[in-house]
């Protein structure tokens, strides 16, 4: 596989380009390389550490901190990081938020569901997601009861999770809300509980069909049984995946073709692994538009920073530091998830990234990291550090600016190069190249 194509593919699917992966995959065809990346079975059967499976009443914050570090570590260190990349996608799609749900272990159980179904059957994933306590609480089905239907989940299921606005009516939302009544969570443990006495057993009319709809029937109708809606849903998900992995503006024909693949997977439809195999082998995925089309989200940037520096989540204090970048683990800004690209590029959020780059620099330099650049010319040093962080070759604009700056630092303090090397490191961490996905 072409080297530039392979490194683009790896950056998008595995957060960073690990040299051993390049070695493993470069002799393969595009299709085989993609298949290898999607073979997340290589990760074994990931287990959720026991510490995350129950509530720690007096240590809620510590549990959150540990969860951030644990997940970041998985992004960096699993054999097939695509599983974590997809988990991050589902976390931003089927959203719930740690501090709204209020019980961290349910967020971790949800996170683990997304990991298990990362590349699985989309309809099954949606069914499981709907009954996961974190979602029941976050979108209020926990309190959705006959006579007082709560539309929160019913609306977002169609607006944000499967169809998009304009593909359902208010009457459909109302019918769906009634269908989901009684699918509650007990209290205080938040275990899913179907309470038949709170379920509306009367007929409801959903997408033109009048019968005694139950909540899970609604998902099956949208994703399997309704010949029109399932196409809309397939395109909706395909477009969102394309925007997450490739670029923000996929042509309609591309989306339609991939949706056709998604609907025709075997043995059953909506198999995510087969869809991603098709998506990642498309020529358009390797176009200039795609290669220059996405900014690393803060979490993706943390993963890259962690990989190259060897600092883990605790070292970098991601649970604290992430807020200033605009993206906190397990805490999407709202039910519609995170925004791409321009959302991250404001002065305040970049100040957050710069502070983290600076503190990573101190940690590395304290251990004499990059002392070796003392013996290099400015151009050699810039190229060397860029190579180290996986962004060689730099654009001419960036490279010229850094060489000029580093040379000025060397000229100003010819007797000691500590500051020059230190600031070169920070500068590399703040190049646009290191923040592009």
């Amino acid at each position: 596989m072409d080297h530039d194509e392979l490194t683009h593919l790896l950056r998008r699917t595995e957060f960073v380009v690990r040299p051993e992966r390049v070695t493993e995959l470069s002799a393969l065809s595009r299709a085989d390389a993609v298949a290898n990346i999607l073979d997340v079975g290589q990760n074994g059967t990931p287990a959720l550490p026991v510490y995350f499976q129950s509530e720690h009443l007096d240590h809620g914050w510590e549990q959150y901190v540990a969860a951030c570090s644990w997940w970041l570590d998985r992004m960096v260190n699993t054999p097939r990081p695509m599983q974590e990349k997809m988990t991050l996608f589902w976390h931003g799609h089927f959203t719930s938020a740690w501090w709204d749900v209020g019980k961290g272990y349910h967020m971790m159980l949800q996170n683990h569901l997304y990991r298990q179904y990362a590349l699985g059957d989309f309809r099954q994933l949606t069914q499981k997601m709907a009954l996961e306590p974190a979602m029941l609480v976050y979108l209020s089905n926990a309190v959705n009861v006959k006579g007082e239907p709560n539309q929160n989940f019913a609306r977002e299921l169609m607006e944000l999770f499967t169809l998009g606005v304009g593909n359902y009516t208010e009457a459909d939302v109302d019918a769906s809300a009634r269908a989901w009544t009684g699918h509650n969570a007990d209290w205080p443990a938040y275990v899913y509980q179907f309470r038949s006495s709170r379920h509306d057993n009367f007929d409801k009319t959903f997408f033109g069909t009048t019968k005694n709809w139950d909540g899970p029937d609604i998902i099956d109708e949208i994703l399997r049984d309704n010949p029109t809606k399932k196409v809309v849903a397939a395109r909706f998900i395909v477009k969102k995946l394309w925007q997450f992995f490739a670029h923000l503006s996929p042509p309609a024909t591309l989306v339609e073709e991939l949706a056709d693949v998604f609907l025709a997977t075997t043995p059953g439809p909506l198999d995510l692994q087969q869809l991603m195999q098709a998506l990642l082998t498309r020529d358009e995925f390797y176009s200039t538009t795609a290669r220059t089309g996405l900014v690393r989200t803060p979490i993706e940037w943390f993963a890259a920073l962690s990989f190259y520096t060897g600092l883990n989540g605790d070292n970098m204090g991601v649970a604290w530091a992430a807020e200033a970048t605009g993206q906190q683990f397990f805490q999407p800004p709202n039910v519609s998830g995170w925004r791409p690209n321009g959302y991250w590029l404001n002065t305040s959020a970049l100040n957050g990234r710069a502070q983290i780059a600076r503190s990573a620099t101190w940690r590395l330099r304290d251990q004499h990291g990059f002392d070796e650049v003392y013996d290099m010319t400015a151009a050699q040093a810039v190229d060397y550090v860029a190579q180290f962080f996986g962004i060689h070759p730099l654009s001419t604009a960036t490279r010229d600016a850094l060489i000029t700056g580093h040379q000025a630092a060397l000229d100003a303090t010819p007797w000691v190069n500590w500051w020059a090397a230190t600031n070169l490191l920070t500068m590399i961490l703040l190049t646009p190249e290191f923040h592009m996905a």
């Binding site: 709560n150 791409p340 100040n351």
Partner: protein, 462 residues
């Protein structure tokens, strides 16, 4: 109810920087237009570092220094109560039996309020505001709202931030459109949010506001030679790199951050103290004192969605607001007292009836306040009738929500309100006693103590 699970901070984030389906335009966040203005367009950039050094001299960033304000340019602090502030318990109709009937245990007892006149009183936590009212520095505007109110936090706040009733997708905010109309050199640093996200209200069609970290610690602020060289090099990366628009947008935004940091660093030292809001208002006052060209400063205050346990929480919130107000004026240089106004808004008011959980639910019309030395103190607009029959009835708005903001755009910010608010069909209010910086000797006073408590809104035009 859509989005009922959203916290107020979440609402703000959702309304921050819209989804960018397209690449950034030629204006807005990129600094390209400025580079071209000083003779460093795309062609010049290709020449690389040397030309940059020649053009920008020793310190790239001094080329971008903010413009000091003219002595008659007004500054507006936009203080938003996220979550839906309960206006009825902020400005209490303390002699109205309907109020006590509907509010039950939520009502503020008449012997605890801070009376303004025979009709209205302030919540007891608002002592600073009361003293400013006594000095005739507070305009209380009643009944502000928008037609066909949507009870969702998100939709309502989007309407407020849009500042317009023009149909179609909401992609810009009223402050942003005001920015769009400024001269390029003035717009660079004219609006900022003291937050990690820039809200929709500050996004224009071609320009956007800045974000100033409320946590201080600005990267780019150190004045040591080593770090200055690093900042210069990072700023010099800001040229078209041939790697797509997002790449360039990153280097552009980083260069802007470095400039903002150098301009604003003195304002963050020493570290502000107090609650989150007090810290933000302290920063707001300091960056006004720094006179770097900022004319709109956006400050968020969240937590007003008091569905339950309202009495203690609302008192705490209003107390925080009052302390922040006091701190702001204690920090603000007297030289700016006649140049600064504070305006409050919230996405909606709350239900006139208390609910079963000692709280209130999402409502509609609400009070707004305009605070400052150039304000003609008093009441404006007509309070909505409290003769509301039903538990779930909401107050009926009596004033177009664009009136307060539009009056400020026109009378304080020096722009065409019809253009900025995308329409002219709202009334202007006469709560401005004088233009920014002008000493008004005959500031008209009407505290309404022995009248109805209300001064009718005066139509200026429209």
């Amino acid at each position: 109810m859509p989005d009922s699970s959203l916290s107020t901070a979440d609402i703000r984030r959702r309304l921050s920087v819209p989804i960018a389906e397209e690449a950034p335009g030629p204006g807005g966040w990129t600094r390209r237009s400025f580079l071209q203005a000083v003779g460093l367009g795309a062609g010049a950039a290709a020449a690389g570092g040397l030309l940059h050094e020649l053009a920008f001299g020793a310190d790239t960033r001094t080329a971008f220094a903010g413009q000091p304000l003219g002595t008659h340019e007004g500054v507006l602090v936009l203080l938003t109560h996220y979550g839906g502030n309960d206006g009825l318990n902020m400005v209490v109709p303390y002699t109205n039996n309907d109020y006590y009937g509907m509010r039950g245990g939520l009502a503020i007892p008449a012997n605890q309020v801070l009376p303004l006149d025979g009709v209205h009183a302030l919540h007891p936590a608002l002592s600073t505001l009361k003293s400013m009212w006594d000095a005739h520095h507070v305009a209380i505007v009643h009944g502000s709202g928008y037609p066909n109110p949507d009870l969702s936090h998100f939709s309502s706040m989007a309407t407020w931030m849009h500042g317009s009733l023009a149909g179609g997708a909401i992609t810009s905010g009223w402050v942003g459109r005001w920015l769009d109309g400024l001269a390029p050199d003035l717009a660079e640093m004219a609006a900022a949010s003291i937050d990690s996200a820039v809200p929709l209200s500050l996004q224009g069609r071609t320009r956007g506001g800045l974000g100033v970290s409320p946590w201080g610690n600005l990267f780019g602020a150190d004045s040591g030679d080593e770090n200055q060289r690093m900042y210069n090099a990072l700023s010099a990366m800001n040229t078209p790199a041939g790697r797509g628009p997002w790449h360039d947008m990153f280097s552009s935004a980083l260069a802007t951050q470095l400039r903002v940091a150098s301009e604003l660093a003195p304002s963050l030292d020493p570290e502000p103290q107090g609650s989150d809001l007090v810290r933000r208002m302290t920063i707001a006052a300091r960056i006004i004192n720094a006179n770097v060209g900022l004319r709109v400063i956006d400050v968020p205050h969240g937590g007003y969605d008091t569905h339950e346990g309202q009495p203690g929480r609302h008192e705490e919130l209003l107390g925080d607001f009052d302390t922040a107000l006091a701190t702001f004026y204690a920090t603000l240089s007297p030289a700016y007292h006649r140049r600064v106004l504070i305006v409050t808004l919230s996405e909606f008011g709350r239900t006139p009836y208390a609910n079963q959980s000692l709280g209130t639910d999402h409502g509609t019309a609400n009070v707004q306040m305009v605070i400052g030395h150039q304000v003609r103190g008093g009441h404006y607009g007509t309070p909505p009738s409290l003769n509301v029959a039903d538990q779930w009835d909401r107050l009926v708005s009596t004033l177009d929500f664009r009136s307060v903001l539009g009056t400020l755009v026109e009378g304080w910010m020096g722009a065409d309100a019809g253009e900025v608010m995308e329409g002219n069909s709202f009334e202007r209010l006469n709560f401005l006693a004088a233009a920014p910086g002008v000493v008004e000797l005959t500031k008209t006073i009407d505290d309404g103590a022995d009248q109805s408590g209300l001064m009718p809104a005066v139509r200026v035009r429209g």
